[in-house]
């Protein structure tokens, strides 16, 4: 890029030239001073030319001007024309220019908008993304509506890259027009639900910028965010962790409550040695602590801690710091220690990172309870001569904070070497650090004092002066028995010239003059001689000394005192004059003895409290660790303090996403007239019941078949009671409950009697199923089916029956009341999910018993609605243990799913006895593809890779619709979405019964009533995406049939045609 470099230098302004930068001047236009406007004319010509080379050259030079901060705005018109350029580099550079100057030239900038709008529709995602990026970066308020439209389109874009860009555009749009906030929050909500790691980081960033207080948007995504966290790019991780810290503070209980309570007790029993500060902390906590009750950490809280822990090993210091602050703020104290190692590791990094990390460590070390975690790393904080000054002071600070009885000797030895450093400020800081160690650890106070006194004979005056100041503070704490030190220091007054040190000596001699009765007056004499040459601060202390001596020893010093006061009376500094006047009134009996004079002794010789030598980082604890506000120790704009923990935990169920949606919706709708709370509680109860139940049934393996059923009955009774209370029509519901009870009983009986190959659809009472089945209805049937299957296989299915039981009680009459409340009622067409026509009993092998070392697993598609999520295909997995010994802890391990696919695991099977078998259900969202779901089945000591590949027919749910609807939908799905084939059906099978049976065997579709003979129609929709599938089989003469499949998913369409052909042509 030598040509580019030439132009950059050529355009260097005069300042750059003055610093000796060689002005190469390769451009024909010459240097900077040769008429600026002319040069711009030249650029304009180049931009107007039709050669890309020239344009590019011009744009490069313009960008050079922008880079140097020179004004290039008058070229706007010429540049903006080139936004349509075909050359991608010219285009990019034009973008750079546009973003910089559009704000200033709003009208002209509008000319470029159309180009971006076109680019937003480009098939290349990179172009779409960059168009959105530039469009949103142009800060022109007029185009807000256009931006909003583009944004809304991009949020649902196929490409995650574009969606990420859209997330970035949100804060831009907001800063341009804050009134759009509500709409933007909706967009954020959509993006937060995104499952791509690329997008979520940016979505959370937008969330944090716009509406950090809308914590309710996070609930549903909380677990997903926790689980995705490790795979999100590093910058997103930082933002997400910070957000989750705040979230955890509002949603979970304080994990350290118990400690606080324990500490309180300890204090109560007279542990007086605790530091004041800590007691204060405890007091605070006491106020917060609700009545004691055993603390159980919310599993979601644990999830967060568990999933962030690996990130301590990130290479990115910001991520490590974010995790560290998360642990500091929300983890139990016993676990915070983990972060120490990682933080210490960061100390090897760049100087700036060291600085930030050290200041955070310094804050952590002021907190007594967590200080211990850094003690093993004490030596990592030893100062090196190469450290910059701010790093050194921070290290000193940390070493001082970490000093304990055991480590103090090491630290002091280290401090001794620092004192010999050539950096005076650092030496002074070290001496102060020694002073602080001495004051905080009583065992070493003597040693430190002696050491400091030793320093008094140092040749370096700064060292001596600083030592004097520190000794003064130390002596003030325990003045007894140190008269020889005071004497020694009094002697130093002759030699020391540093004002602060002199002042300290004078103050000390005055304060403890009774210990050095002979020296004190002599010192005052010497000082008085040289009074006028002293610094102000020393003069003040001389006055103080004089006054104090005058009170205690008037005989010897009264005249001296008068002399000093007289000198001070004419001092230049008014402070000193004032002080002199004040003292004279107090001590000198010149006038009649004033009222104050009597109290002079009390005033001057009152015992003074010892200074507290505290860490300067003490108060930084109030800021969130790792934040900018913490660094600068003041509130940065946009900083929001971490909230306190709630006293009682907010409802943890808000984060549940696996709750089967149809039920929830139904409950709400049914009780629309009632206060919301009630519905809410009953909901919760149901769920907890189901949970406990599932546990129960999974633990007891073989007998629970009958048992769980009886449980269900009892529960359904209680459920119906509840409904009785809440229902608007008491009589119908009461009858319903009794009815349902009996019906469910009879059903279960019939189930147990029925043969394994009983077709479930025979059992469903046809009069109740109206053409448009209700979701509750369907669910009920599905559940009973599952129950049946369970019995068939002489094993139990774990989590399924429970939620069903609550529904079993719903009577047909109630059910018919609820007609039309189905989840699909938003749609205009009467297409509704119906019960499957056929449920296969053949199972496929998942894990052969040879590979599984005796553990075999089979799976089967149950064709119901998945209990975990409506978009999942329910799969029943049956484990059989062919060995004699039990297999423990069967669970799902690593999942290697295609992007977008999700798999809901089953609850871990604690133990499967030898020869026993057990069924569990899992849900897989195949995203409407036949990609296999690969995952691991783990036992106590082994892992097996298995995969489930769905047959294409299992990706559907049967739906019912009218014939008219069918034809209407079919007409919409023509062209590419239509696939057809010909097949000849063996004559013995050419009847409606066989065709229908075969079709429903092949795929989970439902027949649509047909007015024509020989025309069979079937309808279904995909489980995940809800895409409609229409199958038409038209049987002509000579047993040949035309198959037409209509579906938006072309791949599925063609596969299904093949399979239908195969199936129907079977002999």
């Amino acid at each position: 890029m030598s040509n580019g470099g030439g132009s950059y230098n050529a355009q260097n302004d005069s300042r750059a030239g003055s610093t000796g930068e060689p002005d190469i001047g390769t451009e024909p236009t010459g240097g900077f001073f040769s008429a600026d406007y002319k040069k711009h004319d030249d650029l304009k010509q180049m931009l107007d030319s039709n050669k890309d080379n020239l344009k590019l050259e011009a744009m490069k030079r313009i960008v050079g001007m922008v880079a140097k901060g020179k004004d290039a705005s008058d070229l706007f018109a010429a540049v903006v024309k080139n936004v349509v350029s075909k050359n991608i580099e010219v285009k990019k550079l034009v973008y750079v220019y546009l973003v910089r100057y559009a704000e200033e030239q709003q009208d002209l900038a509008l000319l470029s908008i159309a180009t971006f709008q076109r680019a937003l529709k480009d098939p290349n995602q990179l172009i779409r993304a960059s168009a959105l990026r530039v469009l949103s970066s142009i800060r022109v308020p007029v185009i807000v509506p256009i931006m909003m439209l583009a944004l809304k389109d991009s949020v649902v874009d196929m490409s995650p890259y574009v969606r990420k860009t859209a997330a970035h555009a949100i804060p831009k749009l907001y800063s341009l027009d804050p009134e759009q906030k509500d709409q933007l929050i909706q967009v954020i909500e959509k993006l937060l639900a995104d499952k791509t790691t690329l997008v979520v980081g940016s979505a959370v960033m937008a969330f944090e910028e716009l509406c950090p207080d809308r914590i309710d948007l996070i609930h549903k995504n909380y677990r997903k965010l926790c689980n995705l966290l490790v795979d999100v790019e590093e910058w997103g991780q930082v933002v997400i962790i910070n957000m989750l810290t705040r979230y955890a503070r509002t949603q979970f209980l304080d994990p350290n409550q118990q400690d606080a309570v324990a500490d309180d007790d300890k204090n109560f029993y007279g542990d007086e040695d605790e530091k004041d500060s800590e007691e204060e902390e405890d007091d605070d906590e006491k106020e917060k602590t609700p009545p004691k009750k055993p603390y159980m950490m919310d599993p979601d809280h644990r999830l967060l801690l568990r999933n962030t822990k690996p990130l301590l090993q990130s290479r990115n210091a910001a991520v490590v710091m974010a995790v560290a602050q998360l642990y500091h703020h929300i983890a139990p104290k016993s676990e915070v220690g983990l972060v120490a190692k990682a933080l210490v590791r960061l100390l090897r990094s760049h100087r700036e990172i060291q600085h930030v990390v050290l200041s955070n460590v310094a804050t952590l070390t002021t907190i007594r309870k967590v200080r211990g975690m850094f003690e093993p790393y004490l030596k990592s904080f030893f100062v090196r001569p190469s450290d910059p000054i701010h790093v050194r002071t921070l290290k000193l600070e940390i070493l001082t904070n970490l000093a304990t009885e055991t480590s103090i000797s090491t630290i002091l030895r280290e401090f001794q070497t620092y004192v010999t450093s050539s950096d005076k400020d650092f030496v002074a800081a070290t001496i102060q650090a020694i002073g602080r160690c001495a004051s905080s650890i009583s065992e070493v106070t003597e040693t430190c004092l002696n050491g400091l006194v030793g320093l008094l004979s140092n040749r370096n005056e700064y060292v001596v002066a600083e030592s004097v100041v520190v000794i003064k503070k130390l002596l003030q704490m325990q003045p007894d028995s140190h008269s020889e030190i005071i004497q020694h220091m009094a002697k130093l007054a002759d030699s020391i010239t540093v004002p602060m040190a002199r002042a300290s000596i004078l103050w000390m001699v005055g304060e403890y003059s009774d210990r050095v009765p002979k020296i004190a007056p002599d010192l005052l004499r010497k000082m008085a001689k040289n009074f006028i040459n002293e610094e102000d601060i020393v003069k003040l202390q001389i006055l103080n000394l004089a006054a104090k001596l005058c009170i205690t020893n008037p005989k010897q010093t009264k005249l001296l005192c008068q002399y000093v006061l007289n000198l001070a009376k004419y001092d230049q500094n008014y402070d000193i004059r004032d002080r002199a006047r004040f003292i004279r009134q107090l001590v000198s009996p010149a006038g009649e003895k004033g009222a104050l004079g009597k109290h002079a002794k009390k005033i001057f010789l009152a015992s003074k409290p010892a200074p507290v030598l505290d860490s300067s980082f003490k108060d930084r604890d109030q800021w969130q660790l790792g934040s900018l506000s913490h660094m600068i120790n003041q509130r940065a704009s946009g900083y929001s303090p971490l909230p306190d923990y709630p006293e009682t935990a907010p409802d943890p169920t808000v984060r549940n996403v696996e709750v089967p949606m149809p039920w929830a919706e139904k409950t709400h709708k049914k009780k629309a007239g009632k206060p919301k709370k009630e519905a809410f509680y009953s909901d919760e109860e149901e769920e907890s019941e189901s949970e406990s139940d599932s546990e129960e049934s999974s633990s007891s393996s073989s007998e629970s078949g009958s048992e769980s059923e009886s449980d269900d009955d009892s529960k359904s009774e209680s459920g119906s009671d509840k409904e009785k209370k809440s229902d608007e029509e008491p009589e119908s519901s009461s009858s319903s409950s009794s009815e349902s009870e009996s019906s469910s009983e009879s059903e279960s009986e019939s189930e147990s009697e029925s043969e394994p190959d009983t077709k479930p659809q025979k059992k469903t009472p046809p009069p109740k199923t109206k053409s448009s089945a209700k979701p509750k209805k369907e669910a009920k049937q599905e559940v009973s089916l599952l129950d049946l299957d369970v019995i068939d296989m002489s094993s139990t299915s774990a989590p399924v029956p429970a939620p069903a039981s609550a529904l079993d009680v719903l009577s047909p009459s109630l059910a018919s009341d609820l007609q039309g409340l189905s989840i699909n009622d938003k749609k205009d067409t009467a297409i509704s999910v119906t019960t499957p026509m056929f449920v296969s009993t053949t199972s496929h092998e998942l894990l052969h018993r040879m590979t599984g070392e005796g553990l075999a697993a089979n799976y089967r598609f149950t064709r119901g609605t998945c209990i975990y999520s409506t978009s999942m295909v329910p799969v029943e997995v049956t484990f059989t243990n062919h060995t004699d010994s039990p297999v423990c802890n069967i669970r799902i391990g690593d999942k290697k799913l295609q992007a977008g696919m999700t798999l809901q695991e089953f609850p871990e099977i604690p133990s499967l006895p030898g020869g026993g078998s057990m069924s569990v259900s899992i849900g897989i969202d195949f995203k409407d593809t036949i990609q296999p779901a690969n995952f691991q089945i783990c036992t106590q000591d082994r892992k097996y890779n298995v995969s489930i590949k769905p047959p294409v027919g299992e990706l559907f749910q049967a739906v019912t619709m009218s014939e008219a609807d069918f034809t209407a939908q079919q007409s919409k799905l023509t062209g590419m979405n239509e696939n057809s084939g010909k097949v000849s059906i063996p004559s013995q099978h050419n009847n409606s019964k066989t065709i229908t049976a075969r079709m429903s065997e092949l795929a989970n579709v439902a027949p649509v009533s047909s007015s024509q003979d020989g025309l069979y129609r079937f309808a279904g929709k995909t489980v995940s995406g809800g895409t409609l599938l229409l199958v038409t089989v038209k049987v002509g003469e000579d047993n040949s049939a035309n198959i037409t499949v209509n579906c938006e998913l072309m791949a599925i369409c063609s596969m299904l045609v093949k399979e239908v052909k195969q199936k129907l042509s079977q002999a």
Binding site: M1, S2, G4, G5, Y8, A16, D52, V63, V66, A67, G69, N87, I88, E89, K92, Y95, V96, R100, L126, S136, P160, H168, K172, T197, S202, M205, D231, E233, V238, P310, Q313, S314, R315, A318, M321, K341, R345, E352, I353, V356, Y377, K379, S380, F382, R384, P385, S386, P388, T417, T420, S422, R459, G626, L628, S629, M631, I632, Q634, A636, D894
Partner: protein, 416 residues
């Protein structure tokens, strides 16, 4: 997040600025200059400066201050880490991140900054992705570009960004497939006057140069993985595998990258491979200087490239020394003595001795200067870490594999 970026050279010129949101006047840098004036050396400037309306966070590298301007609360490490990543990218692209390189390639710099940050929030920082978006300059391409007028911007999509291995570009092809691993360990130590270790720990990294076609999946295992207790990983490393099996399993980025860096803490005993016997004394007007270096615990390996530096006190005028081996220089302005020893011969220990002359009249310094030591030992990792084997899955060909060990002195300081 990051509002603007200013680059300031050592002369105090703001030679480049970039704004991601609305423009902030460069006068904001005056606050920075104010702080800079207070500091004794460029490193001493506080990295986070608070001004009435903005917060300036800067790093100092390659003699340039990179000053980021923020207006709201942002984790400072976030900004600092990003700025370092920017400089790393420049170094990666231009071979050096200095002022001349930035000025010579200002268009690429500007394009890079545009891609790396969107509205102040990092967008693409992986070097592999950036290189696909914006081609790094090289002589050949520059020539071709000037002749054909083609650009150094790629118009194809960076596939990595969208896959689940965002650090690797797709369609990599080499004729020679090779993978080299350098295990480099640095000893940080403070040795006191008596020769005993005050503090020592080991900082290790494994730098890789992987040039493999396709999508190789590598597994690197160690003889003694227990040494690796405090590790940070490149994002490509599968953490779960490491937790359960203690092997590094990863799909590598293309080219050079740092796979892991680790820290062997001071709790473990660290073998110190050299000793330094200093004998420095000052008296009125002069002094004696006598330093001997020798090997110690080198496990039979040769200690090479030994360099001893010593920052003498300011009162030292000159030094007149004789080395038994190597050459020495004394910089009378910076007062730094440098002795390039070379290899240490265990039979004949290198020694440097002679006289020091002090400024007349000034009192002799009371403390002795610290000596810092540089050395290298080939084919040894001082922590004892050893690579066991490297396996490759997912591709058919047989790659050429190589592992190299190197121990260096990091911050190795001897107090005298």
């Amino acid at each position: 997040m990051i509002h603007s970026l200013f680059m300031i050279n050592s002369a105090g010129d703001i030679f480049m600025e970039k704004h991601w949101k609305s423009v902030i006047s460069r006068s904001v840098c005056d606050y920075f200059f104010e702080e800079q004036q207070k500091a004794n050396s460029p490193e001493d400037v506080n990295p986070v400066i608070s001004t009435p309306h903005h917060y300036l966070i800067h790093i100092y590298r390659e003699n340039i201050y990179f000053v980021a301007v923020c207006t709201t609360e942002v984790p400072p490490l976030f900004v600092i880490e990003f700025l370092h990543r920017v400089v790393d990218t420049f170094t990666d692209y231009f071979g050096d991140g200095g002022e001349t390189a930035i000025k010579d390639n200002y268009v690429i710099v500007y394009e890079l900054l545009e891609e790396m940050l969107d509205n102040g929030f990092p967008l693409a920082t992986e070097s592999n992705i950036l290189k696909e978006l914006i081609k790094p300059p090289n002589i050949l391409r520059t020539v071709v570009n000037t002749v054909t007028g083609s650009s150094n911007l790629s118009d194809t999509l960076p596939t990595g960004q969208l896959s689940n291995v965002p650090w690797r570009r797709a369609g990599v092809k080499y004729t020679n497939n090779e993978a080299y691993f350098d295990v480099i360990e640095e000893i940080d130590a403070i040795i006191d006057k008596q020769g005993s270790t005050v503090f020592a720990d080991i900082q290790g990294v494994i730098d890789c140069c992987v040039k493999l076609s396709g999508m190789p999946d590598l597994t690197l295992s160690f003889m003694n993985p227990r040494i690796l207790d405090d590790v940070s990983f490149h994002p490509c490393v599968r953490f779960k595998r490491w937790e359960s099996e203690r092997v590094l399993s990863f799909v590598p980025p293309d080219g050079n990258f740092r796979l892991i860096s680790y820290h062997v803490g001071s709790q473990n005993m660290v073998a110190i491979p050299v000793y330094v016997k200093p004998n420095i004394s000052f008296r009125e007007g002069g002094g004696r200087f006598d330093v001997t270096v020798g090997p110690k615990q080198t496990m039979g390996k040769l200690v090479e490239s030994v360099v001893i530096t010593c920052a003498m006190p300011k009162v030292v005028l000159n030094m007149n020394l004789t080395p038994t081996q190597g050459t020495y220089t004394f910089d009378p302005v910076a007062k730094v003595l440098t002795w390039d020893v070379g290899k240490i011969n265990p039979q004949k220990l290198p020694n440097l001795r002679g006289n020091i002359s002090l400024q007349s009249g000034s009192p002799p310094p009371e403390s002795n200067p610290a000596i810092s030591v540089q050395f290298k030992i080939q084919q040894m990792a001082v922590s004892g870490l050893k690579v066991n084997r490297l396996d490759m899955y997912g591709e058919k060909y047989k790659p050429f594999k190589g592992v190299k060990y190197l121990t260096k002195a990091g911050n190795f300081q001897v107090r005298t």
